[in-house]
Symmetry: C2
Subunit: 114 residues, 2 copies
DNA sequence: TGCCATACCTCGCGTTACGATGTATTACGC
DNA sequence: GCGTAATACATCGTAACGCGAGGTATGGCA
């Protein structure tokens, strides 16, 4: 998949990976892998960025002698996901522009969005 | 709209803007405006990039005393658009991951893609 | 004459993904 | 016991990219 296309998705995917329950770096990568792959260096950069933006909070806990940093999504983080959903509508419109799909009959379709 | 999300779309949108008929910088911006906005500096960077990648060819022509550079999409350019369409399938899968949409019933939907 | 629209272009900056690299512990095969 | 893989974290430098700021030039209109 095109790297540039990934850029807008990575951040929100990380948030989605911790939305249901708190998670930690290594697990986030594994959970995301079937959908979108990212390197560890990228993830930790993103996690730090999201923490600075108050979209997640961090809690360090010990698990079988090894320390783990659990990430918890905040209200701002959930808001970010909602914003992504709005952006998706725009994305669809752009997709149609690129594929020259006729927009007039689109309303007859079951939308791909919310 | 999120800047990062735009990144993967800009290039392919420019190609789409010249796919039906040859066009020039100023017109491309205007045609794209209803769907996605980009500055002149961004466009000319993209046009140069696409030219280097042989996804479009350039022809200079005079129009009412003013010179215009007309851009023409190449076979590689059209291939790029096709690749974008394939990527879209992946995008949809990622979208569902983020929105926690159940994928099991998706096949019952009329897809948003090709 | 001044100003806006048209039409092109360049430079520098900030953001971002990622490979390379490093540290440390547990688990498992040989 | 020892090497290797998996787990788990982190940093640094690089390259790509969008964009604001700025530049050049012509045509049309008030």
């Amino acid at each position: 998949m095109d790297i540039q296309l990934k850029r807008g998705l990575l951040e929100v995917c990380v948030l989605a990976a911790i939305a249901d329950e708190d998670s930690y770096g290594y697990k986030i990568i594994k959970d995301m892998k079937p959908y979108i792959e990212l390197s560890e260096s990228t993830l930790y950069t993103i996690l730090k960025r999201l923490e600075t933006a108050d979209m997640l909070s961090v809690r360090t806990a010990e698990h079988e002698g090894r320390l783990r940093k659990y990430y918890h999504i905040t209200r701002a983080g959930r808001k970010r996901i909602e914003e992504f959903k709005s952006d998706w509508t725009e994305m669809l419109s752009i997709y149609r522009f690129v594929t020259k799909e006729d927009e007039s009959h689109v309303k007859d379709n079951i939308s791909c969005g919310p």
